[in-house]
Amino acid sequence: MPVKTGRPRVIGAIATALIVAAAGTAAATAKQAHTARKTIQFGQIADFTGVGAAVISYDNASQLSAEYAINAAGGILGEKVVNVPIDTKSDPADGLVAVERALATNNIGVVTGPLTDTAPVVVPILQRHNVITVCPCGNPNFDHTSDPYFWRLVPPDPVGGETMALFAKRNHLTRVAAVFGTDQGSQGDLPGVLFGVKAAHMRLVANIGLTPDQTSYRTQVEQLIAAKPQVIFTESDGATAATFFGELKQLGKLVPIYGTNATIQTPYLNALDAAIGTKNLSRYYRGEANASARTSPAASAYNAAVTKIANRLPKPLSQWLGNPFVEANYDGLIMAALAMDASHSTNPKVANSWIPKVTEPGPGKTIVYSYAAGLRALKRGKKIEYIGAAGPIRFDKWHNSFPNQAMLTVKPNGTPVSSFTIPATAIEKLR
C-alpha cells in the first residue's frame, strides 16, 4: 500500500504527547510533595534501564531489605522510609538529568548509588544538594575524595585486581591474561586489575578486549591461546562471556577464570554456566568479593530482612542471602538511618557528621548488629557501634571502608559455596 508523508499528524501527535506528559509530571510532583511531608525519602540511583539493567535486582535487594528493616523497627524518628527510584538509564548524561529532576521534586536526604558508570557525573550534584550518598561505585577517583557526604562501603576498583592477583600468586599462577568487555562498566574496572597485576609483580601476557554481543570471538580466543596464560582475569556482560569462554572450552583450553565482583551476579554466572558447564564453573571460576561475615548476627538480620521482601526479587531467595554486594549497600542505609536517629534529625546536613559516631568503635559503646537493636540502644541513651552484615565499618579520612576480600566459588545462581579470604592488610601492603 503506497503511503505519503503526514507531517501535520505527527506534529499533532507529538504536541498531544507533550501535553499528556506535562500533566502527568505535574500530578506526580504534587503527589510526591504530599508524600514528602509524612515520610523520609531514600533515593535509589541505579541503572533501571539500559546496559546496566541486568543487575538492578541487586540494588533492589539492598534498598528494599534495608527499608524493610528500618520501617519494621518503627522508622526513623517515627517516620517511615519510602523508596524513590531514580533511573540513570546506564548513561551519565541521562543520570545527571534524572538526579537533578528527582532532587528538585522530592525531599531526598539519603541515596544509594550511583554506580560506577555514572558516579563521576552524578556524585558532585548530590554533594551540592547535601545528600548523604552511599555509593556502591568503584571509581578510583573517589579513593581520596573531599566530598563530606560521600560514603563508600565497597572497595575501589584496584582492590579487586589486587585481590585476584594475590590469590593467583598464592596458587603459583603468574602468567595473566586480561579479558575485558569494551563496555564502560568493564573498562572502568580494567585499570584496577592491571594495577593489581603490576603491583603483585605478575606477568600480563595478553590484554584482550571483547566488543559485546559479537557472533564469535574466535580470533580473540586464538590470541589468548597463543599467549599461553595460566589464569584469566575477566569482566564482561554474560552473553559476551558465554560466547568467548564457550569457544575456549570447545578448543579444550580452559584455564582458571578469576572474575571481578561484577561477575558474581546471576545473569553472568548463568551464562557462563551454560557455556562451560556447571562442573567447569566450579573447577575454573572464582569471583572476587567482600568477605562476608555470613554467620554474624548482622548477617542474620540482613538475611531476615531480605527474606521478608523476597517476593519483590527474582527467585531463588538463596542468591540474595549472604550476597556481599547487596550487604554493603544494606549496611550503608542502616548506618545512615542510625545516624539520623542518633543526631535526632533527618536533615542530612546534621546527620551526616554522625555517621562515624555510629560506626566507629569506642569505649563504652554498645555494639549493635541491626537497625532495631541500634534504635533500642539509642533510645536508652547509649552510644552505639553498628557492625554491618558485611563486617565492621571502618572509614578512612576519605570516607572509604572496605572489609577483607575473598575469592569465592559459587553456584550458577551466585550462592557462595566456599571462599578464600584475602585480608585487607595484605591488599594495603601492595599499595
Binding site: 500500500m1 503506497p2 503511503v3 505519503k4 508523508t5 503526514g6 507531517r7 499528524r9 505527527v10 539493567a53 541486568a54 569494551t182 584482550i208 578486549g209 571483547l210 566488543t211 559485546p212 554481543d213 559479537q214 557472533t215 564469535s216 574466535r218 580470533t219 580473540q220 586464538e222 590470541q223 597463543a226 554474560g238 552473553a239 558465554a242 560466547t243 564457550g246 569457544e247 570447545q250 546471576t266 545473569p267 548463568n270 551464562a271 551454560a274 557455556a275 527474582p314
Partner: protein, 297 residues
Amino acid sequence: MNSTILLQSIGFGITTAAVIAIGAMGFTLQLGVTNLLNLSFGNIMTLGAFASLIVERWHLGLVPTILAAPLVGAVASVLLARTLLAVFARRQNGAFELLMVTLAAGLIIEYTLDALAHLQVFQFQFPSGATVHLGPFVFTVLSLALIGAAALVLAALLAALHLTRLGKALRALSVDPKLARACGVPMRRMINLTWIVSGALAGLAGLVYVTNSLTISAGAGLNFLVLVIAAAILGGAGSPVGAVLAALVIGVATEVVAAFGGSYYSQAAGLAILALVLVLRPSTGMWSGPTRDEVTV
C-alpha cells in the same frame, strides 16, 4: 603479530560474514521491495532464535529446531506488516513515521523477550563438530555448514529472483511499483511474499547467529542489526550479491583488525569501511541509491 593468527582470523571472518550475510540478504530484499528501513529486523531475528531454542529444549529433533526459527520469523514479519504497519500506512504516514513504528515494534519484542527471559542468557546446544584445516584457514564442521547455508540462501534467492516470474515481478516492484501495478503485478501478494521471505531469513539469521555464538539473549538482535544494515547498505539496497560481498568485507575486516590487536576497534573498523564507501561510492550501478521515495507495505 603472529601470521598464523592473521590467516586464521580471515577464516573466522568468513564465518562471521556468513552469519551477517543471511540476515543482510533478508534485510536488503525487504528494503529493496518495500523501501522501508525495518528496524525491528534484528528483534525478529532474536525471536526466531528463541523459537529454535525452545524447540531444542523440548527435544523435538534437529529438523523442527532448524525450521522453527524461519517459521516464527516469517509469521512475526507478516504480522508486523499486516497489522501495525498497515494501520499506520492507511493513516497516510510517511517513511520516517513507519521507520519509527518498526523501531517501536522492535523494542516491544525485545522488552517482552527480556521480561519472559528474566534478563538471562541462554546457551544453545549445537555441536560444532571437528576442526577442519583448509589451507591456512581453520574451520569447524559447524562453521563450514554456516558458510554453506549462506551460499545456499544466496543461490536460492538469485535463482528465484532471476529465473522465475515471481522474481521478475518482485524486481519490477522494487524498481517502479506504480508501473509494476499498472502492468498487472499482484502487488499485495508480492509484498506479503517479501515479508514472508524476509522474515524467514531474519529467523534463519537468528538461528545461525545462535549456533555460532552458542548463546542468545533478548538484546542480541539489536547489536547484530547494525552489522546487517551496514552490509545491506554497503552492498546496495535490494542486491543480495552486494549484501553478501559487503558482509564478507565487514566480517573479514572486523576479525583482521582484532587479530592485529585492535579488538577494541574491530567493529568500528567494519563500520568505518561502510562510512568510507558511502562517501566515495559512485552514483551509478548497485550504489545508485534509492530511485523512489514511496514506501510500499
